[in-house]
Amino acid sequence: MRKSRAMSALQYGWAAVLVVFTLFPFYWMLVSALRGSDNVLTSRLTPGPFTLEGFVNLMDVTPFPTYLTNSMIVSLSLTALTIVIVTPIAYALSKMRGRLGRALGFSVLLGYMVPEVLLMIPIFVILVRVNLDNSLAGLVVGLLSVTMPLGLWLMTGFMKTIPPALEEAARIDGASWTEIFWYVILPLARPGILTVGIFSFIIGWTDYLFALTMIRSEELKTLPVGLSTLYGKFDSSWSEIMAGAVVVSIPAIILVAATARHFVGGLSQGATKG
């Protein structure tokens, strides 16, 4: 055994710090959400009393259901569009050898390193001019400028790992590029598509800055902006807000739990939010 007993005690202690620091906020979020507005100020550390009042108010009194629908629309269409646009370009990029391919690849990465706030201003100006500001479609278009560079980068790297022998076999059998892409590459690229899809969904689901800037109407707000403006409105207490936070967290946590192995691998290649 490589660790002495005293060291283990220290490690257990530190593991406890890790658990409390990382998970206590989630625990408290859930406890507060389930206490309802009458008891939310109870500072007893053990859970309870339990009531679903916070969740019920959230759905009945506040515009939370609208935010939820909008976020679903934005995240799902963003995911679909990103995959459809990125996959064929990534394939073409992965076939480009030499300087042009490298330069294109790097410029894609550069787009990813540019701060969001810097992109925000011109995108807003462009969207206002084509009358797409203050609309969910405009928000999706704006967010594509974040998901596409990341998606292209991840997907191109993924395409390069597909063995060329498979394509060559198909070519000898007389398949065209489009057929090869459709019947050979796409099925093999499924894990890559899944990764890009998850990242795109999470970017759409968690985006705050784009929605804050582009959406002005209450009925078009998405979850992060909507939730952040709930405090002090619609008679909502911290219980309703924590109930909202629970609902917003669930899809992200389910997605990650279901695809953890996948996701953690992708994390080291390029992370979604800063």
Partner: protein, 283 residues
């Protein structure tokens, strides 16, 4: 290939418009003045940059950004590495913990900010009450110094998991034989970390510091949602100042100039950093 490229064309056009045009425009907008978003930009040369660079608010935001990102990155690295070292061990429940440790990183920033604001709320927040019960009244968001500490704390909670997970992955490549050999030679755990483990993960750590530094310097939403830049501009950094200028005061040219300078600082810092750390990463 021709037909296939045709298939790519629509996407490529969209990519061009949505990636390159905004970047080019963003760089250019600083040289123009726009009275409204739809008015024709008027070329004003370096005027916006001159006005921004003599503004105390700009340098205040610059320094705040440095303090915020330096503190946040250092704490994330220290906590992240130490958590990774614990999670590398095998003990009961470590599998679940390895999965759960990533949660703060994947929930929307707004969730993290709201739950921390609630826990620190002077009116019934649980952490605030714990401190009060031992006689400590902490003005979490009310004074400049504490506001900075609080936004750093929330940022550390949100993004330490990134460091933990990445370092944990890097630790898989550290060979156990070397550590065991060092153990037999009579080293203690601290020495083994310092002389055996650390040198092997230095390249990864340097990359993480770079990525986290870039992200923290550009990060908008934590500070905006927690303090809005206050109190007394004590937590206002360049992204918030740029946003304020462009979308609150409608000085779009000035906002773009600030964002552009922010990007230039970052590029300079990244180049210097890559040069300075080359001797560790080339090996």
């Amino acid at each position: 290939m021709g037909k296939f490229l045709l298939l790519c064309l629509p996407g490529a056009v969209i990519a061009l418009v949505l990636i390159y045009v905004p970047v080019a425009t963003a760089m250019g907008l600083g040289f123009f003045q726009l009275d409204t978003v739809i008015s024709t930009p008027r070329f004003t040369g370096l005027e916006n940059f001159e006005r921004v660079l003599v503004d105390d608010a700009f340098w205040n935001a610059f320094v705040n950004g440095l303090v915020y990102s330096a503190l946040a990155v250092i704490l994330q690295i220290v906590l992240g590495v130490s958590f990774a070292l614990v999670l590398r061990e095998t003990f009961k429940g470590v599998g679940i913990l390895r999965g759960a440790v990533i949660f703060p990183y994947v929930v929307p920033t707004v969730v993290g900010v709201l739950v921390w604001r609630w826990m620190l709320d002077p009116n019934g927040g649980v952490i605030d009450e714990i401190f009060q019960s031992v006689g400590l009244q902490i003005p979490w968001l009310a004074t400049p110094t504490w506001a900075m500490i609080t936004v750093v704390l929330i940022s550390v909670w949100l993004w330490t998991p990134f460091v933990t997970i990445t370092v944990l992955a890097a630790l898989q490549t550290v060979s156990p034989e070397l550590e065991e050999a060092a153990h037999i030679d009579g080293t203690n755990a601290l020495q083994r970390f310092r002389y055996v483990v650390l040198p092997q993960i230095v390249p990864i750590l340097l990359t993480i510091v770079l990525l986290r530094g870039i992200w923290m310097f550009n990060k908008f939403d934590v500070i905006y949602l927690t303090t809005g830049g206050g109190p007394l501009e004590s937590t206002e950094h360049l992204p918030i100042l740029s946003y304020d200028k462009a979308f609150r005061q409608f000085q779009i040219g000035e906002g773009a100039a600030i964002a552009g300078l922010n990007f230039v600082f970052l590029v300079v810092a990244v180049v210097v950093y890559l040069r300075a750390t080359r001797r560790w990463t080339d090996a």
